[in-house]
């Protein structure tokens, strides 16, 4: 590995910085010698950057920003949507592009973007920010679960799709929470927030943020409404993958989630499904819940 100490190495490092960091591009225009000196480039080695076409560089950076922010927000549509709906929210989200995490693996980057969202939510500590904390926890839970599923598959462990149990097997079994489960309690259904965000979803949330079409006041209305808490249980599983056995790089593992939404605060009740009680021993209400969760794959039978 190059020690990155040749002038050409520093040139490439600066090029990357210029493509991702709006402040660096601004400095190249306003104080080029300051920037070049800061990165250790002088004389002929600095020459390419003195002549660069600022408009062309800006177009390239815009294209990258559009693509990468779309990819980044895909895993956090509701939190990114709520933050991005506020004035200046898009810029605050896109500040992440200058982060060193952008040069890391996709998994590290996605988790670091979750950290960035968490920092943004604590920055102003508004009612909407506090309200959104639980939704971010949910979205981060899904990201973490997906990473765990991928790690398991890469290690040769199973992360299968939910299986269907025959009724007699259900009656004889001991229900317990499946592997790769995320359980969160939210102040309202994600569907309510989705409506407030005018159905901006993973595919288009960044485009909607960038176009300014999201209305923060709609999110505020949801945040100010009387709580109608729900509990969400989500199970991650691998839908298919190609191995990385030839060496280097992450395997391609497509992770999906099945989710169940329950009215009220039920995380503690779900935790009681720990395999210690047989389906037949459960009170009728718990048995009905167990059957529903078994059908969805949130529970499995021991």
């Amino acid at each position: 590995m190059s020690a990155m100490n040749e002038p050409v190495d520093r040139q490439y490092a600066l090029l990357l910085r210029l493509l991702f960091d709006a402040d660096a591009r601004e400095q190249l225009q306003g104080d080029p010698e300051g920037l070049l000196s800061e990165v250790g480039l002088s004389g002929d080695d600095a020459a390419p950057f003195r002549d660069v076409d600022a408009a062309g560089l800006a177009i390239d950076a815009e294209l990258r920003r559009r693509y990468l922010m779309s990819a980044m927000c895909r895993a956090y549509p509701q939190t990114a949507g709520a933050i991005g709906a506020a004035p200046g929210g898009g810029e605050r989200l896109a500040a992440f592009l200058a982060s060193p995490a952008m040069m890391g693996s996709l998994a590290e980057r996605s988790q670091a973007f979750g950290d960035h969202l968490a920092r943004l939510l604590t920055l102003n500590d508004t009612a909407v920010d506090r309200f959104m904390g639980a939704f971010l926890a949910f979205e981060r839970g899904l990201v973490d679960t997906a990473a765990r599923v991928r790690a398991a598959v890469e290690a040769g462990e199973p992360a299968p799709a939910p299986e269907r149990y025959a009724p007699d097997r259900v009656a004889r079994g001991y229900p317990t929470l499946s592997s790769f489960i995320t359980i969160v309690q939210l102040p309202c259904s994600p569907a309510v927030l989705e409506v407030a965000l005018e159905h901006a979803g993973p595919e288009d949330v960044w485009r909607r943020i960038a176009s300014g079409s999201l209305d923060i006041n709609r999110v505020k209305s949801v945040a100010r409404a009387a709580p109608a808490p729900v509990t969400i249980a989500a199970r991650g599983f691998a839908r298919g993958h190609a191995s990385a056995r030839a060496g280097g790089g992450a395997a391609l593992i497509d992770v999906s989630h099945v989710t169940v939404e329950l009215a009220g605060l039920q995380a503690a009740r779900l935790a009681e499904f720990d395999g210690s009680r047989g389906t037949a021993e459960l009170p009728p209400a718990d048995r009905a819940l167990a059957e529903k969760l078994l059908n969805a794959g949130i529970l499995q039978l021991l």
Partner: protein, 307 residues
């Protein structure tokens, strides 16, 4: 005789094909089955060849060969390609029987962990200086040493240029020094003509050995105006611009060792692909400098596609 020249005789005439993504519209397998469909399918995708095994098998069962066109190799810049990554690329090329391996000369990943250009938003183009050229020679040599198929170097599209050399001079020298072939994308060439200081195609190509050009690409794009300058942006889902057709026609007449022309149309409206293929075949059949390719295109037009 250089090894490139020796390899040249072994490279098959692939004809006129398309570049598409598996699992996306237009569906490459369905398109290949249509009368007037592509004679080969080029695809980008994951290094792990298992991920494309099914559609590649379906195409090969129709007699349609494939070309792997990855976006995962550092062909310039300071970050080396790990041996395991290169071995996986080689395994992919062998598994799908790709006649050659072509990629945009760019930085696709940063640091020790290999990856894909999309992780950086797109290809990061080379810095066009002598020192950067020396480094690119190292990167390309790494790939050539590890991959069994001939390597074709393609200029990535740009909206700005860094360095005192033109891409044509820089890439031409890179191909000479590494004894590689070239792939020229007509739209990418337009982007370099607009971004550089050399607006004339004829002058720009001086010093580049066009005998090394084995494949041409033609694809849709967008012209964006900022101030008094225009910039070319790649957009495979859109129609091919008149400026691109013009450059394509000029290249076709000058690249006498061509073996393939590829219409890149990922995301385009499916029914527009066949008329574009026909137009490209007609141009190739009429004016390609490569006799081999001209004969192949005429055969395709006559419905006598030899697969």
């Amino acid at each position: 005789m250089s090894s490139f020249t020796a390899q040249l005789d072994t490279l098959p005439a692939m004809g006129v094909g398309v570049s598409l993504s598996f699992g996306m519209e237009p569906d490459p397998v369905a398109l290949a089955a249509m009368p007037g469909g592509p004679s080969f399918v080029e695809y980008a995708g994951a290094v792990q060849h298992e991920s494309v095994a099914a559609p590649v098998a379906a195409l090969q069962a129709q007699g349609v060969p494939v070309l792997f066109h990855p976006s995962c190799l550092n062909l310039c810049g300071p970050w080396p390609n790990p041996p395991g990554w290169l071995a996986a690329v080689d395994a992919h090329v062998r598994a799908v029987d790709s006649a050659w391996l072509a990629q945009d000369v760019s930085v696709c990943f940063v640091g020790d962990e290999p990856g894909y250009s999309i992780q950086l938003g797109y290809f990061v183009p080379p810095i066009l200086t002598r020192a950067s050229l020396e480094q690119a020679v190292e990167r390309v040599a790494e790939v050539c040493a590890a991959v069994s198929a001939p390597l074709l170097l393609e200029p990535a599209p740009v909206t700005f240029q860094l360095g005192e050399m033109s891409i044509f001079q820089w890439l031409g020298e890179l191909a000479e020094r590494t004894d590689c072939g070239l792939l020229l994308d007509a739209g990418h060439v337009v982007s370099h003509l607009l971004a550089g200081s050399q607006p004339s195609l004829n002058r720009a190509l001086e010093g580049m050995d066009l005998g090394r050009v084995i494949e041409l690409h033609v694809a849709g794009g967008v012209l964006e105006k900022r101030g008094d300058r225009r910039y070319y942006l790649d957009a495979h889902d859109l129609p091919i611009l008149p400026e691109t057709w013009k450059v394509f026609a000029a290249l076709l007449r000058r690249c006498h060792n061509l073996r393939a022309v590829c219409v890149e149309c990922e995301g385009a409206v499916g029914r527009t692909a066949l008329p574009v293929l026909r137009r490209v075949r007609e141009e190739v059949a009429e004016s390609a400098a490569s006799v081999t390719l001209r004969i192949k295109a005429r055969s395709e037009l006559a419905g006598e596609v030899s697969r």
